[in-house]
Amino acid sequence: MMRTGNPVGRWALTAFTWLVAILFVLPLLWMVLTAFKQEADAYTDPPRLVFTPTLDQFAGILERGFLPYLGNSAFVTVVSTLLVLLMAVPAAYSLSISAVPGTRDALGFFLSTKMLPIVAAIIPLYVISQNLKLLDNVWALVILYTAMNLPLAIWMMRSFFLEVPKEMVEAGRVDGAKLPTLLFKVILPVVAPGIAATALICVIFSWTEFFYAVNLTAAQAGTVPVFLVGFITSEGLYWAQLSAAALLASLPVMIIGWLAQNHLVRGLSMGAVK
C-alpha cells in the first residue's frame, strides 16, 4: 500500500513507524521501568530515568497475598477454557461440516448473546449465586466465563472447520469411512491448530475479565484483576508496587498474545475474518 520510491523516503517512513509505535506503548514501557523502582523513585518531578533497579516490589506483591489470586485466575481460566472446547468443537462441527437444519438460526442465537449487555444480567446472577452459595466461589466464574467465550469459540471453530476440504470429507464418506475414522484421520489434523488458537483466545478473555469478577467474588475467589482493585482503596497509591502487580498480572496474557498474534484477528473477529 505504502509505496515510496526513494530509499530516503523509505527509511524516513520506517523511522516514523518506529517512533509512533514507541510513543504508543510508552505507558507500558514506563510501567515496566517503574516496576523495578523503589517507591521514592517512582513518583518524582521530573520523572526519573536513572535509578538502581530492585525486585523489592515483586516481593511486596507476594507479601500482599498475590498468589491465591493468581491461583484462582489460573483455575478459572483453565477449567472454563476446557469446558468451552468440550462444547464448542462438537457444536461447530454440527454447524459446518455436518450442517444441521437451522444452522443459521443457531449461529445467530450464539452471536446475539454476545450483544446482550452484561450489566443487564448481573443482578439476577448475583441473587442466583447467593442462593446457590456460589458467591465468592470460583465455580460461579467458571460457569460465566464458559458462557461468555462459548459463542466466540463456536464461531471461530466453525471457520476452521469450513477450511477442511469438502472433497476430503466426501471422499472419506464414499470410501465408507466411519465417522470416528473421518474425524480423527481427516478432520482433526486440519483443525487442531484452530483448536489451539481458540483455546488461547478464550484464555485471554477469561484472564482479563473484570466485571463479573469484581461483582461476584471477594477475598476467597478473587481473580488477578480483583487483586488490582485493592490498589485504589488503599490510602494513597503505591505506584511502584502497582506497576509490578500490573506487569505480573498481565504477563501470562501478554506472552500468550504474542505467541498467538497470527490467530488473534480470527479470534477477535469470531472467525469472520481470517
Binding site: 520506517t14 462438537p90 437451522g102
Partner: protein, 313 residues
C-alpha cells in the same frame, strides 16, 4: 432470526431451511445429527437467557435489599421512575458519546497504524508485537496505569511533557477515560484492518500503479472500498465491547466527579451494589437490552450479509 435474543427458548429447534438432506424436523435421525450441538445450545440458553428473564421479572418489583420485606409488585412504576431520572439520561448520553467517540477514534488510529505496518521494513514483527500489547495488558491494569503514571497532576507524564498542572481526571473525566479506552482498543482495530489490507489482491494494486494512479487515488478508490467490510466488522465488534466499558470508569474516576463520567454499566452497578435498588436497576438493565437489541438487529443483519452466511453449506 434476530429476535432470537428475546425469545430464545422457542428457537433452537426451528429449522426453516433444511440444508443438506431434507430430513424431517423431529425425526430421530435429525436429533442425532443435532446432538453435538445440544450441550452448547442448552448451556448458553440456561446461563444467558434465564438471568435476563429474571431481570425482566425483578424490574416489575419494588425491591431494596437494605429494606427487608420491601419486596412487592409495582408493575411499570420502575420504568416511569427510571425515565424521569435525569442521572439515567445523563449516563445514557455518556454511554453513546463514549462509544461513538472511542470507536471512531480507535478506528482512525488503527487505520493509520495498519497502513504504516502494511509494508516490509526493518523490525516490522517487533513493531507489530509492541502495538498489539496494549490490548493484551489487563484492562484493569491499563486503567490504573493511566490514572497514575499518565494523568496524575503532579507526577504524571502528560503534565511533564506538556507542562502545566492539569488534574486531568477531574477536569476532563470523560475525555480521560476515553483516551485510555482508545489506547486499549486501537490495537484491536489495527489488527482487523491490517488483515483487510493484507487480503487485498496484489494484481489490482499493481494494475492501478501501471495505470498511473497516485497513492491517494489508489487508496480512495481501491483500498478503502475493499476494506469496508473489515471496517464494518471493526465498528460492530468494537461497539459491542466498548458499550459495556466498566473497568476504566470504575478504576479511574468512579463515575465522577459527580456523574460526569458515569456510563450505563457503571450507573446500574452503582444503583444495584451501592444503592441496593434491585427493582430500578433491573428496569434500567431491561431498557439497555431493548436499546441494544434495536442496534443489534441491524448489526446482526449486517454481519450475516457481510460475511456471506448465504453460503452456509
Amino acid at each position: 432470526m434476530t429476535q432470537t435474543a428475546t425469545t430464545p427458548v422457542t428457537k433452537p429447534a426451528t429449522a426453516p431451511v433444511p440444508i443438506r438432506k431434507p430430513v424431517g424436523k423431529w425425526s430421530g435421525a435429525a436429533w442425532l445429527r443435532r446432538a453435538p450441538l445440544l450441550p452448547a445450545l442448552l448451556f448458553t440458553i440456561l446461563v444467558t437467557q434465564i438471568p435476563f428473564l429474571l431481570t425482566v421479572f425483578y424490574s416489575l418489583q419494588s425491591w431494596n435489599l437494605v429494606r427487608p420485606g420491601s419486596r412487592h409488585f409495582v408493575g411499570l412504576r420502575n420504568y416511569v421512575d427510571v425515565f424521569a431520572d435525569s442521572q439515567f439520561r445523563g449516563a445514557m448520553l455518556n454511554t453513546v458519546l463514549l462509544t461513538v467517540v472511542c470507536v471512531l477514534v480507535a478506528m482512525l488510529l488503527g487505520l493509520g497504524l495498519a497502513l504504516l505496518l502494511d509494508r516490509k521494513f526493518l523490525g516490522r514483527g517487533v513493531v507489530r508485537t509492541l502495538l498489539i500489547t496494549p490490548f493484551l495488558i489487563l484492562p484493569a491494569a491499563g486503567a490504573l496505569l493511566w490514572k497514575t503514571t499518565m494523568f496524575d497532576p503532579t507526577y504524571g507524564l502528560l503534565n511533564f511533557v506538556f507542562g502545566g498542572d492539569i488534574d486531568w481526571l477531574s477536569e476532563f473525566p470523560l475525555a480521560s477515560v476515553m483516551a485510555q479506552i482508545v489506547w486499549q482498543w486501537t490495537p484491536f482495530m489495527m489488527l482487523l484492518i491490517l488483515a483487510g489490507l493484507q487480503a487485498q489482491s496484489k494484481e489490482v494494486l499493481e494494475a492501478a500503479a501501471v495505470d498511473g494512479a497516485g497513492r491517494w487515488r489508489t487508496f480512495a478508490s481501491i483500498t478503502l472500498p475493499q476494506l469496508s467490510r473489515y471496517l464494518q466488522l471493526a465498528v460492530l465488534l468494537g461497539a459491542i465491547y466498548i458499550v459495556n466499558s466498566f473497568d476504566a470508569i470504575f478504576l479511574m474516576t468512579q463515575g465522577g466527579p459527580g456523574t460526569a463520567s458515569t456510563n450505563l454499566p457503571y450507573y446500574i452497578y452503582q444503583r444495584a451494589f451501592e444503592g441496593f435498588d434491585i427493582g430500578q436497576s433491573s428496569a434500567m438493565g431491561v431498557i439497555v437490552v431493548v436499546l441494544t437489541l434495536i442496534v443489534a438487529t441491524f448489526a446482526l443483519r449486517l454481519m450475516f450479509r457481510t460475511f456471506g452466511m448465504s453460503e452456509v453449506r
